[in-house]
């Protein structure tokens, strides 16, 4: 059976007095495509940041690729939720993507020609290659989103974390992205925070429902247990196409 790439044991986390996550146990296998769903404020982004080592748990243990999260960040790609951070910053799309290759090679803090070639390839792959010299403030939300995905891919990571990557894409862009993720998934493990549950059954392999506790389900469907106990698919019901997601019940 495939290796475990993410292993979380009895994790607790709180911001000050506010408990965000409790008793989290999660094992993600290599090659998995996990959709992380749950209500707003349920702790999805927090869980992602814990796995990235940007936050430290109050209790419990996280192992990513068998090590502490902070020591493997070079092998992880990350697409943050807030893409509009610093939009007035004077930086070209190319330089943003090159950030993804920063310090990837130990002991070197400058970028090489290979890095530039890889960055251009990543931009091309996301269909924004012609914007390489464009300042990010002049890009649309969708274009910027693609640039940030290219930044996550340029280092050819083993695991890819995406925090609501479809938020700024139109429906065509969304299907393109899912198709691309499916291709990537042949070699990379993917964890994606998403509200867009209608796509779940066609692309993802498992679902993690986060609402203070985490319920992991190894198939691409939302179970009654999730609905009843964790109040998860609130958005699902609102979005209105439950048949594609819900299994027989």
């Amino acid at each position: 059976m495939a290796d475990t790439v993410i292993d979380i044991q009895d994790l607790w986390f709180s911001f000050g007095d506010q408990l965000v996550l409790k008793e989290v146990n999660l094992k993600v296998r290599s090659g998995d495509f996990v959709a992380v769903i749950g209500p707003n404020g349920g702790g999805k982004t927090t869980l992602l940041k814990l796995m990235l080592g940007l936050l430290t748990p109050n209790r419990g243990r996280i192992r990513v690729l068998g090590k502490a999260p902070r020591s493997v960040t070079q092998r992880i790609g990350y697409v943050p939720q807030d893409i509009h951070i610093n939009k007035t910053f004077p930086i070209s799309a190319m330089d943003v993507v090159l950030m993804g290759a920063l310090r990837i090679h130990p002991g070197r803090i400058r970028q090489s020609c290979e890095d530039r070639v890889a960055a251009q390839q990543a931009l091309d792959r996301m269909q924004v290659g012609k914007y390489n010299g464009t300042r990010i403030g002049k890009l649309s939300g969708g274009q910027l989103q693609r640039v940030l995905i290219a930044r996550a891919l340029v280092s050819t990571p083993d695991i890819l974390f995406l925090d609501e990557p479809t938020a700024h894409l139109d429906s065509q862009g969304q299907s393109d992205l899912y198709e691309l993720l499916r291709q990537l998934n042949e070699s990379i493990t993917i964890l994606m925070v998403s509200h867009d549950l209608t796509m779940l059954s066609s692309y993802v392999k498992s679902v993690a429902c986060v609402n203070q506790v985490v319920h992991f389900h190894d198939e691409a469907e939302i179970t009654n247990e999730m609905v009843d106990m964790y109040h998860c698919p609130v958005e699902l019901l609102a979005h209105g196409i439950p048949h594609r997601v819900l299994g027989k019940h």
Binding site: P90, M99, G100, R103, R135
Partner: protein, 282 residues
């Protein structure tokens, strides 16, 4: 104007202005994109405490002022990194406290009255050659440091979280940036005054930011604009017998408003930035 260059003090003033322009263009760019203008203002004013300490205890001016400013800067930075939501308050307190300590200690210093105005607006027409050499050294060191950490600084300034993921020593760079700011402010305050320092640090980068595609261009643009402001200001000051520092600031302010008119949306964007990301961030 050219015939005035026969006076050594005017030549020195010009050289000091040019070097201050370049230094401020470089560090000011980093200050503006990292949104630590308020922190820099705090350091500049707290430096007054250092002036008071230097005179009262009779220690060398540069050592006293720089030591105190670095201390204040590091305290402010530590607070900013730890308790972001309280950072502006703490900076405000240290800002006022530093000035008060400076003024009181100068009051208590026997037989010596210092013209505080000269530290606010500087005395660029009375720059000693030693200051010129200090500025030259600082400028060279700063260019080397910024060049070495170029990509790291860019990554940290644009997206701190992602920079941390890529192993950029964000905390170290932040302290480095603030220390460079403190050292620059102290060296330049003596020459051009702290109000002019803050103007040179913020106005040119603000204007240059909109027309730059990279941090590097923004630094070059800010440096060039600062040189323009300084030359025009010095000329006005010479021609109409006005305070030099204030003249330079007026010229810079004039261009600031012209640039705002040039692009009407600037106000909207500026306001959005202030409301969205008003606080200083590490």
């Amino acid at each position: 104007m050219l015939e005035s260059l026969q006076f050594e003090f005017l030549r020195n003033a010009l050289l000091a202005g040019l070097m201050a322009s370049v230094i401020c263009g470089c560090i000011g760019t980093l200050i503006v994109v990292n949104r630590i203008v308020f922190l820099s203002g705090g350091i500049a004013h707290a430096a007054f405490g250092g002036i008071g300490i230097a005179f009262f205890f009779g220690i060398p001016f540069l050592a006293g002022t720089m030591g105190f400013s670095l201390l204040a800067a590091l305290v402010m930075t530590a607070v900013t990194l730890r308790a972001k939501h309280r950072a502006d308050t703490i900076i405000g307190v240290l800002w006022a406290l530093g000035m008060a300590i400076g003024v009181i200690l100068l009051d208590l210093t026997p037989g010596y009255t210092v013209d505080l105005m000269s530290y606010l607006f500087g005395s660029i027409l009375a720059v000693p050659p030693s200051s010129l050499w200090q500025m030259l050294a600082l400028g060279c060191v700063m260019i080397v440091v910024v060049r070495y950490f170029h990509y790291d600084l860019m990554a940290m300034s644009y997206d701190e979280e992602f920079a941390r993921l890529r192993g950029v020593p964000v905390r170290f760079l932040y302290f480095l940036l603030v220390s460079m700011t403190a050292i620059s402010i102290v060296l330049l305050m003596r020459v051009v005054g702290l109000i002019l320092v803050i103007a040179l640090l913020t106005i040119a980068p603000f204007i240059a930011e909109r027309y730059s595609k990279s941090l590097y261009q923004m630094m070059l643009g800010s440096g060039a604009l600062n040189i323009l402001f300084t030359l025009l200001g010095l000329w006005l000051s010479y021609r109409f017998n006005l305070t030099s520092g204030a003249s330079i600031i007026l010229v810079a302010g004039f261009f600031f408003f012209i640039s705002l008119l040039f692009e009407k949306r600037a106000w909207v964007r500026y306001c959005l930035r202030v409301t969205d990301h008003g606080e200083d961030r590490p």
